[in-house]
């Protein structure tokens, strides 16, 4: 039922784990759903938590001045693409 790719599924699992989203199953996060504001409703504290987890898991450092950081955080799909690209 989920159309997550394997890499997106792994990232979804990471998000659920680090953000205390224990009432959501990782496969419930739709790849194109907005992570912040509407949709999943994450906030700026979560952004920092995600950045830290991604740095530890994949060695990808996220920086605010990068073009595209904001776009990367839009959805599960864009975040995964960003991580894949910078690995």
């Amino acid at each position: 039922m989920s159309n997550q790719t394997p890499a997106e599924a792994a990232l979804a699992e990471l998000l659920v784990e680090v953000l205390n989203l224990e009432d959501i199953e990782p496969e419930e996060i739709k790849p194109e759903e907005l992570l912040f504001g509407e949709g999943l409703g994450l906030d700026s504290i979560d952004a920092l938590e995600i950045a830290l987890a991604i740095a530890q898991e994949h060695g990808v450092e996220i920086k605010a001045e990068d073009e595209g950081t904001k776009e990367a955080f839009a959805t599960l799909r864009s975040l995964n693409a960003f991580v894949e690209q910078h690995k």
Binding site: I24, K63, A64
Partner: protein, 461 residues
């Protein structure tokens, strides 16, 4: 007796600010741009001249330097800065209704309400020139700043800071927060200038003491590190446990390449001692944790890596009230303040913190009330029974938990949407569990321990 003091009270030769971001008419080289006292004053006058003859300026400038210039220009014009608890346009509207004769002063970064007059100071000419003429004097009782705390429902509560309060509290803060008074410390902060913690350390210390303001507000570890490598020494980093933890955990540091940090200041949430120790050793620095509240500002300090005992700032008096509460008084504060936390005095000047009144919660540096959050839950028409509580959590940013029984036809998503509408995002419960019934006693009460174990059984399964 002096009834007015100068607008600027700091060493004449020390740089007032160091800019990393270019401004209109002021390109900034890659190694930064210093701003002198006199250049700052000329900027203040330039902004002051453009301000309308009103009473209140809602100061939402994002760039820390522009925020300070705007704030001081507002004070020069004998007006009052309003510092909203968030950057929502709706908050600006409610403030402008509460404070007659207010306008917004911004730098193009924040969302601004369409229904309030706004001035964008980023468009002004920021080229450098020296201020010529007298240094303006400010009356000690002038209401220079009103800062607002949000509370869980976002209802802003005002804290008036007179010029005297700003001046005296900054002198006290400098004594306890700066390692010595002969060097100028470059104060890089991860927190905004509008909130009390950032205001006191990253904005007021540079104007009232021997510190230099840095315009940027980096959040991610990479951004903090790259700024630190170009920032002149000695450097101080001002942040929160969340930022320090992220910085300490970044892989960029594993090569042993930590930039030198002479001083670190941390506040807004309890700092873990193990993290304090790790941070101190990674950066070969000393980390001071500060304890305070919005009404008073910073009140005490400790070297968390070494001790759990707080040392009270001199100039503040802690009086014990009936029921174990503590009341703070000081010559420079307009009124006494009853603290939410329970303090155990070790001796006259030192204490340990022993928790806060059970209704009071603090998440991500924001203070709120469980009672208020529960009232918001009960306003949701689809809720049959439910409770929001704050279980003990081993997490850097703990969150509230909601357990609810919903009526047919109402979804968890709709409840989450309802919470988001009425609550600051930090207080939106996460997780929300939909259950068949709550473990209530016969008398209808919820036993704390039972609630905990019920919640545990849900989160494990």
């Amino acid at each position: 007796m002096t009834l007015a003091t100068p607008l600027l009270q700091r060493p004449a030769e020390a740089p007032l600010a160091w800019l990393s971001l270019g401004l209109n008419g002021l390109p900034v080289p890659s190694n930064g741009q210093h701003i002198s006292n006199s250049q700052f004053l000329s900027h203040v006058w330039r902004v002051a001249k453009t301000l309308p003859s009103e009473n209140y300026a809602i100061n939402v400038c994002d760039n820390r330097y522009l925020f300070l210039v705007a704030a001081w220009a507002v004070i020069v014009r004998k007006q009052t800065n309003l510092l909203p608890p968030n950057t929502n346009a709706s908050t600006q509207e409610s403030l402008s209704k509460l404070y007659q004769g207010s306008y917004i002063i911004h730098d193009g970064a924040a969302e601004c309400s369409d229904s309030v007059d706004a001035i964008n100071i980023a468009q002004l000419d920021w080229s450098l020139s020296d201020h010529i003429g007298e240094l303006p004097q400010v009356e000690l009782n002038h209401a220079a700043i009103i800062s607002f705390t949000s509370g869980s429902t976002g209802e802003p509560k005002p804290n008036v800071k007179s010029w005297r309060t700003l001046q005296e509290s900054s002198r006290i803060n400098a004594r306890y927060m700066l390692p010595n008074d002969s060097d100028v410390f470059y104060h890089l902060a991860t927190v905004p200038g509008q909130h009390m913690w950032g205001l006191e350390t990253s904005v007021l210390l540079p104007v009232f003491a021997n510190a230099c303001l840095v315009d940027a507000r980096p959040m991610y570890p990479h951004d903090i590190l790259s700024l630190l490598t170009v920032l002149p020494e000695p450097r101080a980093l001002i942040g929160t446990p969340l930022h320090l933890r992220a910085l300490s955990g970044t892989q960029k540091l594993t090569q042993g390449s930590a930039p030198s940090l002479s001083n670190v200041l941390c506040a807004t949430a309890p700092l873990d001692q193990a993290l304090a120790r790790e941070f101190e050793s990674r950066f070969s620095t000393s980390l001071r944790e500060v304890y305070g509240c919005s009404e008073v500002g910073s009140m005490s300090v400790r070297r968390t890596a070494q001790t759990d005992v707080w040392t009270k700032f001199s100039g503040l008096n802690f009086g014990q009230e009936d029921g174990g509460k503590t009341r703070v008084t000081a010559d420079h504060l307009p009124a006494s303040i009853l603290l939410e936390d329970s303090l155990n005095m070790v001796n006259e000047d030192q204490f340990k913190l022993s928790g806060r009144a059970s209704d009071q919660i603090k998440i991500a540096g924001k203070r709120g009330s469980l009672f208020e959050v529960n009232s918001v839950l009960m306003k949701f028409e689809g809720v049959q029974d439910g409770v929001v509580f704050f279980p003990p959590q081993d997490r850097p940013v703990p969150r509230l938990v909601a357990l609810v029984c919903l009526r047919d036809g109402f979804s968890k998503d709709a409840l989450r949407e309802h919470f988001r509408k009425y609550l600051d995002s930090a207080f939106v419960p996460r997780p929300i569990y939909v259950v068949d019934a709550l473990p209530r006693e016969e008398n209808g009460k919820l036993n704390k321990a039972k609630l905990q174990s019920f919640y545990k059984s849900l989160s494990v399964g």
